[in-house]
Symmetry: C2
Amino acid sequence: MEVTRKNYKDCLNTVYSAIEEADFLAIDGEFSGISDGPNASALTNGLDTPEERYTKLKKHSMDFLLFQFGLCTFKYDQTKSKYITKTFNFYIFPKPFNRTSPDIKFICQSSSIDFLASQGFDFNKVFCHGIPYLNQEEEAQLREQTEERRNQHANGVGTPSYISPSSSKGPAHIPEEHKDFINRVVEKVEALFANSEKTLDLEPCTGFQRKLIYQTLNWKFPKGLHVETIETEKKERYIQISKVDEEERKRREQQKLEKEQEELNDAVGFSRVIHAISKSGKLVVGHNMLLDVMHTIHQFYCPLPELLHFVMVFSFLFPLRLLDTKLMASTQPFKELITYTSLAELEKQLKESPFKPPQVETAEGFLSYNTAQEQLHEAGYDAYITGLCFISMANYLGSFLTPPKAYISARSKLIEPFFNKLFLMRIIDIPYLNLTGPDLQPKRDHVLYVTFPKEWKTSDLYQLFSAFGNIQVSWIDDTSAFVSLSQTDQVQIGESGLFCHTRQNLFTTCSLLVKYT
Amino acid sequence: MEVTRKNYKDCLNTVYSAIEEADFLAIDGEFSGISDGPNASALTNGLDTPEERYTKLKKHSMDFLLFQFGLCTFKYDQTKSKYITKTFNFYIFPKPFNRTSPDIKFICQSSSIDFLASQGFDFNKVFCHGIPYLNQEEEAQLREQTEERRNQHANGVGTPSYISPSSSKGPAHIPEEHKDFINRVVEKVEALFANSEKTLDLEPCTGFQRKLIYQTLNWKFPKGLHVETIETEKKERYIQISKVDEEERKRREQQKLEKEQEELNDAVGFSRVIHAISKSGKLVVGHNMLLDVMHTIHQFYCPLPELLHFVMVFSFLFPLRLLDTKLMASTQPFKELITYTSLAELEKQLKESPFKPPQVETAEGFLSYNTAQEQLHEAGYDAYITGLCFISMANYLGSFLTPPKAYISARSKLIEPFFNKLFLMRIIDIPYLNLTGPDLQPKRDHVLYVTFPKEWKTSDLYQLFSAFGNIQVSWIDDTSAFVSLSQTDQVQIGESGLFCHTRQNLFTTCSLLVKYT
């Protein structure tokens, strides 16, 4: 189901109940870019620690926009022995709520945009019809503003910003130059009380004048009036004054309150879907999902903190379990069976023996995807096949039970070892970032820090270390790299400083080697 | 005429000849945002100097993308006593040319995007079909790369990056592990010479291996072979070797050269249109065109320098004359006759007495705009009506001649006073930035620098200075502003430091006043 600003309010209940009834959820995000850093190899060094990687992504990836969010819900139907799926493809855009709301700036990376364009991505759906959103602080601010405006109107007292030399002498102090204007308004209102008209529309006037009118009328006519600011199509604002009895006044106040509440909910927009996912406590499956999770928290909750606090924020905000299918596919017992772990390749391999194609059916009223006609990089489709991958792998784990089980639920103990561990791209010896426990700390005795002239290529490093068997090169920049030797004890310290036994904190200033990291 | 990547090569000659035949050109740009600065008032303070304003725009506006460029050419037809117009609406996007070309990042401002969306802007035309471009440095780099690759193939010598320990011993030195591979290739080529086949396709291999093949074949078979790298649909690269006589070899080299030249021109893309405008030396008309000019230079020529150098770069790159219709409308004799200078309002007023509606006709084969059905903020349309405004105003100047003239050409001396002066938004006393002379330096003796508590509003300042008649407030930030008094000699210095005669460099530390700017 395609969800934009046009239809999302009608869809919300469908989304909520799909989440509520689901056994597990799959998600995927599409972004306006990946990295504004110097280059990809600097962003993903093969020997980053989880903290370094997180910090780099936070610095170089969060100014892009998550502008398409895919959610696919999976509910197991016992009678059919099938999962029933509901897929939602949300378009997201931070349309400013009003003139005072934050005017979000985000970066676009031309290679990413060009890639999405080549996949048929519809940018008009994002930019013209994207669903707005607020993070928690913005939402709180907006609620506060609304509250303040309410109190102001109710009490006839100016906002703190109006408590200044010119207006501090009392709630109804009128500056000299506005006295005539206000007196004329009071006369008109007195005439309204005397005649048979029900309402009186004033001429458009400035915000300051409107403030003075509210103050004066609240003070002079504490009862019997309802005063409201109305905006014309041309965005001019004028005040409408209505004669009302107390009951009518309360009814109108109540109406206004409800309207304000609705506008506020509209502004919170897509964040409400994320809140619902978070509150559901359901298992959430994603493929290579670290960036998706980081963007989701950054965009819909709060700017990202340090890694330590991120893990805390995460546990607080998300009483749910995450499972990364890329990590699962790269871990025993799948590692030996699966050659390629990119989403498209993985989905294909998991249909073949020893795996079984997952049994799924699209819920009534939802568009069904055909995995043969790939729609990769549409977030909804990617979420859908991520879910399929999870089902195949989970069910495969059931084959090890005695007796074997063909169906393993999202609540099975068998999948718990994969919970809350997010795949780390291109790190040699630390497969995941652990959200609910300490990170792995592999030994790196065999890792050398090498500097060289900037003309050198990987082949020159292979040549140089050819005596040491297989090596792994992790580029840092033009003139340095980490070189991992296959065996730790091979290396000799020469007096020349050229080769060294590696050990902790060893650092030589020679042109080639060696710093332990 | 809508111009995207799909059709721009077919349109180029039409564009070139329209520019060539025109009496003047009108331009307009649409951007992905206006300011990434803290707020609008900080960006456009009413008492900025031209240099300050330029520096702020350079800092806070250049990371946005100019993604739609409107060009309307106006050619006067003597027999019809009418201008014939050709309008082009170009969509522009920095699609990366290849894997090594710069991956441009640009900012989007949600309020600007939302505004364009509300005007029916088609973002898919930009992001999916925008015409690419290169600035002068990128173009030079690409030409150099192409040149280098050519020389390399011609001489069989590696690029400098391959002159490294493993390959510095000679052009045809083969590392041990590649010797078998290269020997097999040589054998195949020898077989090719012996048999009746014309061509030989090698297996896909690495870039390093291709390099070795080129080096070896150039050295072993200096004549009789044409060697070429071909890319498959799957982006795999393999080498194709053909037996050729010398004539055929040269013909193929020439073909390849031409193909490379065409690819290079494609990459330069939209910049070629800008170069043509620049070289034409024609009068270029824009409305409030400072940002358009800055973006055009920044995006298609070079990163913007300091203002002083900008003026120099400008005169060097653009042997043309610019005319800003917003400035013209704000200057005598138009100032007294024209109330609103926004483009839409201006165009309406210039159809009415004492002005005359401009006589224009759309050239055959071009879509005509109907000014009654406004299509504002489409760059082509905005350029078109900017041209109309210029014609009305220029012709109005003819009414002052004896005898009066109904038509004033773009080459008339009457419009020269407006050349190369770009309108400065919201500066009280400096109407324009002068590109070909010194900027105005108005007296600012009556300007006070005022600081105050952050709760204060403009009304508080009016109140405070109410004894001094009319004042103008130019906000700097939450707690300071420039206050311009209407009369210079009114102000008294009190011992309290509260009020001061303003004079150059006076600065008091009192809470309220005063610094001369």
